[in-house]
């Protein structure tokens, strides 16, 4: 469970743009790996970047060879996340998780089947725990935040 000592202001946690939702469709529709990963990186670019002062060790998700940071904010029972990575593909993969989880309820996030989601996108290989992209750890951290509500 991440427990960062500082966090970005609540205004920065916002629903993601329609452009990002559309980017997920483009990834699903890509018919070769080059296009798929090109789209993943474009999706990563659309994700709002984390200000440098929030790239802190205590917000870092462990299990990533690259660095990845994750922040969380709850508003009216809905969960909002801010995340970034210093690797472009990892940032895109994080973006995919955020599109699925941003603004969702605890129940929706806890029922979210990340494996099925990545299977559908043709990216199931990236989810294996043996990967050092940290995606499994990130998905777990996103869910873990919903289990901590009210504490």
């Amino acid at each position: 469970m991440l427990n960062p000592s500082t966090a970005p202001s609540p205004q920065l946690f916002s629903p993601l743009s329609d452009e990002l939702v559309e980017a997920v469709n483009l990834i699903e529709q890509a018919n070769n790996w080059q296009d798929k990963y090109r789209q993943i990186m474009l999706l990563g670019k659309l994700l709002p970047p984390l200000a440098p002062e929030f790239k802190q060790a205590d917000a870092q998700v462990k299990g990533c060879e690259s660095q990845a940071w994750l922040y969380h904010y709850t508003l009216n029972g809905r969960h909002f996340y801010l995340a970034d990575s210093d690797a472009r593909i990892v940032k895109g993969l994080i973006g995919l998780l955020l599109v699925a989880c941003q603004g969702k309820t605890t129940e929706q996030i806890q029922q979210f089947d990340v494996k099925q989601y990545f299977d559908r996108l043709g990216l199931s290989g990236q989810l294996s725990p043996s990967r050092t992209n940290g995606l499994t750890a990130l998905a777990q951290a996103i869910v873990a935040y919903t289990q901590d509500v009210g504490t």
């Binding site: 090109r38 060879e65 690797a87 472009r88 990236q126 050092t132 992209n133």
Partner: protein
């Protein structure tokens, strides 16, 4: 890109026949043949090694050193024969200088633990900055237990061990000097004979981590003259789970056993236990018998090959790999040896060489992005800090990619890798 370099001059033996003995290399991943350039992490295994381990389990499986029955006698005989084989392979003076461990990491831990009673507060331990974490952390733990002081041996701007700085550090009269023979992250080769001789001259105990050297270079522990030399089976075409700790008998015999119990004792009572003699004293518990036998098969496999020609083939292939990377453009290479240096046995042309591996980054790109996109093309390389964070810090790097070769690597592998990397470049840049 310039036309590909011909490698034919080095290949005086049938390289394809050699490669064919590694079943794992015959597979395809997706639409691509597997391009395995991660031998420095672990090598693939020849059929002979797989067969030797299977045969042991099918016919000879028994515990060693304890039972009176024939199976145990056969297993013990096979197991002890490998000890003799290892001793000959690295030119140890006696076979009880060879301890079987679970790997390089355990071997170094056994030495660092075993020296505890010999180290006093403020004793100095010199560690190669290029060392793998396995050759750093056990010494830090030893320092915590004893109050000893760790001093890193710095590198030159070209990531080679800085011999001038080393000479200055020796004035501190270190108690232990620990070096890598070949750096795992960069493939840089240390002139270990010279470094060990200097360390010995000031009375230091010396350990050389040979994990990345043993599969590539002939190793003669008497020539190096180090007190301890360690390596793993799985990086030299043998199985995982077995490694070697070589120690000069007089020094090995002084180590306090890290593990106790099993066959390492002479007598046990509740009042007092007397430890047995080497090598058993440092091999508590049932050893990895099948893996030791597999290691024996790997050594036999290597000994049957024309190793000088293979080394020449590997060196030519590595230079070809470096050249192709340089020609690709937008590539940063790390630790490429180019400084004149004499005095080391393997530097016949007066040059320092890289052994087995090339470390690089695509300019301005994250090593993990490069690794993910290479993986899409069935190219296996290691991307990260290579368990050498102090080295990465000294190079001011967050990490890098490493392509590493073995005896089975051929020009097609290098060409497939370069082609794949060019595709990655197109996607990222």
């Amino acid at each position: 890109m310039k036309p590909a370099l011909s490698l034919s001059s080095a290949v005086l033996f049938d390289h394809q026949a050699l490669r064919d003995q590694f079943p794992a290399l015959k597979q395809t991943i997706g639409d691509h043949p597997l391009c395995y350039l991660d031998t420095a992490a672990t090598s693939q295994k020849p059929q002979a090694v797989i067969d030797a381990m299977t045969e042991y389990y099918q016919l000879n499986n028994a515990n060693v050193h304890r039972a009176a029955h024939q199976l145990s006698a056969r297993a013990t005989q096979q197991y002890e024969a490998v000890r003799q084989q290892v001793a000959e392979f690295i030119h140890a003076q006696r076979q009880d200088e060879i301890i079987f461990t679970h790997g390089t990491t355990e071997s170094i831990n056994m030495v660092a633990y075993g020296l505890t009673s010999q180290i006093k507060p403020n004793d100095v331990i010199l560690i190669d900055t290029a060392a793998h974490h396995a050759n750093i952390v056990p010494w830090q733990e030893l320092a915590k237990r004893t109050g000893a002081v760790i001093k890193p041996i710095p590198l030159t701007t070209n990531a080679q061990l800085d011999i001038t700085a080393f000479d200055q550090l020796l004035a501190l009269k270190p108690k232990v000097v620990t070096l890598c023979h070949v750096s795992n992250a960069l493939g840089t080769l240390n002139p270990v004979n010279e470094l060990v001789a200097k360390a010995k001259a000031v009375g230091a105990l010396t350990l050389v981590d040979g994990a990345q050297a043993i599969a590539h270079l002939p190793v003669d522990v008497q020539l190096i003259d180090c007190d301890f030399y360690v390596f793993s089976g799985h990086k030299m075409y043998g199985p995982t789970g077995v490694g070697v700790l070589y120690g000069r008998y007089t020094e090995l015999d002084k180590l306090t056993p890290m593990l106790t119990g099993g066959e390492m004792i002479k007598t046990v009572s509740f009042e007092q236990t007397e430890f047995g003699a080497l090598p058993n004293r440092l091999e508590a518990g049932t050893p990895a018998i099948a893996e030791v036998i597999g290691l024996g098969a790997a050594i036999h496999f290597l000994q049957q090959l024309p190793r000088e020609q293979i080394l020449a083939h590997e060196q030519q292939l590595l230079r070809y790999l470096q050249q192709q990377l340089q020609q690709l453009g937008a590539i940063e290479l790390y630790g490429i040896a180019n400084d004149k240096h004499s005095g080391d046995k393997h530097c016949a042309d007066g040059q320092r060489h890289n052994i087995g591996a090339v470390a690089f980054n695509l300019q301005g790109e994250h090593h993990q992005d490069v690794g993910i996109l290479l993986d899409q093309q069935a190219v296996a390389v290691r991307c990260g800090h290579h368990c050498a964070m102090p080295l990465m810090t000294s190079l001011n790097l967050g990490g890098c990619c490493r392509a590493s070769i073995g005896i089975y690597t051929n020009k097609q592998d290098v060409d497939q890798f370069i082609h794949a990397l060019n595709t990655v470049k197109g996607l990222l840049l």
